[in-house]
Symmetry: C4
């Protein structure tokens, strides 16, 4: 199972979505009977799908709509929404900017205006007023101030997110962010990420996290692997963290769900993530392609705005349909980006899984999607 | 042989057509002496090739022609032929429809008209009148009614096909389809599919199936893997099911052939499928490219017409030659899509296999077709 | 080392040129001191390179030129040269034919005229008169008649070649070709191919072959893998046959060289073939790209002319330089297709191999050439 | 861990940059606290980055600038700078030459003028006068004469570089270059390369090398793998040589740093090289893309000028920014080619590595970057 790449350098083989496939067994269940609900921070959700805290994916209106449909959207507290009063105009400007120089354009917009506590409060209240569950996300260094403002305004769930989230942080210059302390003091549940690996996940759970976001560097709008060399394919990352969750649960009786975040493109990836052990999945670009998305047709990552080392750019995601159609269909495309929950139900039914816990036990095979097979298809379609 | 993708998630490596190659040994046999006949449901066929129950591949005329040439074509009872009196006009309309919006066009056509028992009967009688063997296919939920009409009209073989076929089906809303009961009551042999896996195959054989269709999600006109995450590469699927067939045969004395269905593009794939353990193969797009095919130059899958979750689209397959040329040549192309049976004979002869049972024992290697090698060839041909 | 693809189907992993690389060690030798000579059928050659018996690669003039340069060219006795008096005009016509329909054009030309013993004799005499070593090749079913004519005209070496060459051949319709008998009666050394695998190679050596051609289906102008499913990557094929050669040598004291034939594109492939165990290599398309080649700029395989099942087409190979430049440089391209022997010498020197026998022991690694790396390069060159 | 490719040919699997990824653990460090300094030949450098001795990458001015920024640039003593007084004009001519025939154009320019000791001295003095550390590189056969001239002019470090560098060299025609003798007599530290493999590295260290360059054939402007079949992917090469360094250090107490040279394209590759065991990395094309580079926008390898067997061509590298921006940012691109040292610091911090020695122990996984994933991204960006 493990080998060396040379000398004494030991490695494991890691797997991504495109390298595995799910395998039906002898039992098939009516998709309508499949239970895809789950619980995060004491709140029960009808569907195991979160919209990622990207400026191009989530604004207060979309967050409320997502709640209505049974899922959860997370609002980014470090982005445009909390820096600019008229966020929609800025988002439109980013969508309209020419591709050439767009990274610097984004860098400048994020640098020019500071995060404003009153805007944090306003965005949270907007979500609540529209009837949504208010989940918000901040980086560790802004979490304290942002958290206070958000909680006071009525936020329900707090996400702390950084490129690599961890309990232990060393610095000679700034005070280390104390995850356990923050969680203890927070009146609302705190979900922490992003992480990979058994040990880091377990430490976050021991620090009191109500949920853990899994995924470092695998997303489509993220170039961490090219820039930093860091990036664990999501099937392996999810399976490793699921093992930590199960062991922590067995030892303490507390069940902390893990959410696979990054790189998910279609219904097949969602089914695979859960079969690898995830309790839910987080989507970015796919949600940014909803008709209701804040930056029509475009998305960019949290690290795109980094002043000195951007890891991602603005990508065109197009518009595939309404949020309702993306989640529940009907689909008029066959690429797996529409009716995601219908696809998950049919996948689980076909695999004989009554609920998400059983889906986590579904049979999986290593089955690379061959370049040639894709090409054969393209040729047949007159595309390639 | 098996490993984990991370944590405790155990997996096996699965293989597709493009990842294996056949290996000649010290014996070569005259291709003309090779026996490629086989038996399904008590009927002996000269060639181990079935035309898939796709609306773009099989109509009564093609079915009769296929019988004449020694093979078997299966007519889809859930499609255009049994919904529309003038099926040919509808099929032509699908072929003529613009690519943009074609999925919805197909969805609408399949939704607008119900399946009519009198059309089922008429199609079966048309095949018989033209001298063909009448093999028909229905989904489990239409199988009872369709089966009665087809049998009365003189059908010879009945196929029950769904995305994932199985003996055990659970639903709180509809009565489960009783495979064993259906088979027992059916006056004609029943072939069931599609399936993968040792256990599911054995259960279908124990339920009385006269044949088992192998293949979930690997076809060219099928996007199950993207939409559902489900899809087992055909070499592995075939070898697993062949093991179940052999064990079932050893235990009961009854030999139930397995038919590899999906993803086969050329003579090489046919040879590989049989070497992996198949008794016969089922082809879709390749047959849809026959001059006699019902929807000139186009094909689409059974799941393309799904109202809320289409898994496939219409693809252009072109027209490669007459059915006679596709099956027996002469070929004037070198891509393996013509003279399929000549290719199978030459392959078996080159591998020293006197018949299909010996071909199932042919030596196979894992030998990926490298993207670079393909490109080198394309460059040389001035294509890429 | 071996595994199963599923069920009970056991397989080995096979490797092609693009999947391996050679590894330098602590000793470097002056390339000019490297000995690359070898012996076939009692004749010593300065360079381990043969031109393949393709109509687009070898005519009498090129054969003589190849001898002069220290190598060996094999003339096809089943092709245009022995069917047409004015072969050059026919070859030019094939080169000039439009791509569309070229396979049928070739099929017709090979079918229209029979092989003529007097032309066989004339071609052999032409080679001898030009001072060359006359090596000729025929298929088993034409070998007897062709052999007689060629030997009488003064041929030096006789090659028997078929898609899969073997000692044991079964037919109820034609008499089996008796390899051992033919070899025994032949007054000149007989080289047999093509083969792969330890057992088949050993049987050919035991039947008296003076050399064995290794390679079934890996060539660039050959589509056996697509048509028949047959094809063993050349590194594995060569290493397997080399083991048979070494065991046969140890047991009998007779050393029968093996020649890797098919799929070799550049100096790197030549070095790898020898490091895998080959005594020499056979090139087709690369030689067809010589300024002296018979069909300016084009090549096609022996199986392209098959009347009912062509496995290959005419490909454009261009013209890269004179035979002298291709073999010994100077090269003004960096793609490894020029100065092949200079490259082999430098490769052997860099690997510390004094001669071909030592080169067969060079360290090899499995090191796939990644598609992404190629693309990075193309991008940098402004190509992709 | 090792297997055979067939017969008795044993091989190891080797890995390149694109096949591995780094894995964060539970500790994160402030990037500003990370120590990335190292020592070569007794000189301490702030950053572990060398500019390769390519004519398109390094001239005296760039070398001085590189020193100022904390790194080291190596000047090629066998190239244009020491053959032509007005080197800049020649370099500009190479940059301006049409792509067609550029290899021969380069071959001619390098052949026409000999290396001149007075130009060697002048280039060294230019670097020193500009305040730089003068590191120079020569091939073994020119090392003696060049070394003398360079040392007299005040050179600080001497590099001996050939395609495959080794202690043992055999020739019947020229005197073998005595590495140990040269090192002993040299008044300045001598770094030797390029090499791969445990044994060769250890011998170079035992011969007194002050540093070893790792990498044979993996670079972007190098086609050694195609021409010679030689080429070891850099992750494996680095890990093997690092093991030799560590064992040599344990046995002798002398620490000889290894420098990974070739194939590095971005910050991610730098991080991976060090995690594989490198003490520093050498970059070519990336430095040639600096605004200060000698041949604006172009680069070519040392082996491009080979008179009879060029292994590389001129490639367009473009201009990405100033050397300062390439090394320290700010980056306005997300492809990992800008702010390389910022990226390394962030990568190390994210992996919990305080310094380069700890980074060498970072967790690595085998995690291929799948072609499909890349394509998905390109599609999204409207590129592919």
């Amino acid at each position: 199972m493990d080998t060396t790449v040379g000398g004494n350098k030991r490695v494991r083989r890691a797997y991504g979505f495109d390298e595995v496939a799910l395998v039906p067994g002898p039992l098939v269940i009516d998709p309508r009977d499949v239970d895809i609900s789950w619980t995060l921070g004491g709140i029960r959700f009808d569907i195991p799908l979160l919209a990622a805290a990207l400026d191009g994916a989530v604004n207060p209106k979309l967050a409320a709509q997502m709640s209505k449909l049974g899922g959860l959207a997370v609002l980014n507290l470090d982005g445009i929404q909390t820096r600019y009063e008229d966020a929609e105009a800025i988002l439109q400007a980013i969508a309209d900017a020419p591709a050439d120089g767009v990274i610097q354009f984004i860098q400048d917009l994020y640098a020019k205006e500071a995060i404003k506590p009153e805007l944090i409060a306003r965005r949270v209240r907007q979500i609540k007023e529209l009837g949504g569950i208010a989940a918000v996300s901040a980086a560790p260094h802004t979490a304290k101030a942002a958290g206070m403002a958000a909680v006071e305004a009525g936020a329900d769930l707090f996400f702390i997110q950084s490129t690599v989230g961890s309990v232990r942080f060393e610095s000679t210059r700034i005070a280390a962010f104390d995850v356990a302390g923050f969680v203890k003091e927070s009146p609302i549940p705190v979900i922490v990420g992003n992480t990979v690996g058994y040990a880091a996940t377990k430490e976050l759970m021991e620090a009191g996290a109500a949920g853990v976001l899994v995924g470092v560097g695998p997303g489509h709008i993220c170039t961490s692997r090219k820039v930093l060399g860091i990036g664990v394919p999501q099937i392996t990352a999810t399976a490793d963290c699921a093992a930590a969750r199960d062991d922590y649960h067995a030892a303490t009786g507390r069940y902390v769900p893990i959410i696979t975040d990054g790189g998910i493109r279609n219904g097949g990836d969602i089914a695979k993530a859960i079969a690898a052990g995830a309790d839910a999945v987080m989507l970015g670009s796919t949600i940014a392609a909803a008709a209701e998305a804040p930056a029509p047709g475009y998305s960019w990552g949290m690290a795109t705005s980094s002043a000195d080392l951007p890891r991602g750019t603005r990508i065109k995601v197009g518009t595939s349909g309404t949020l309702q159609e993306i989640l529940f269909g009907p689909a008029h495309k066959d690429d797996g980006t529409m009716n995601l929950m219908g696809a998950l139900r049919l996948s689980m039914g076909s695999l004989g899984a009554h609920n998400l816990k059983e889906m986590q036990q579904a049979e999986m095979m290593v089955a690379p999607s061959l370049p040639n097979e894709g090409k054969a298809l393209q040729r047949a379609q007159g595309v390639g």
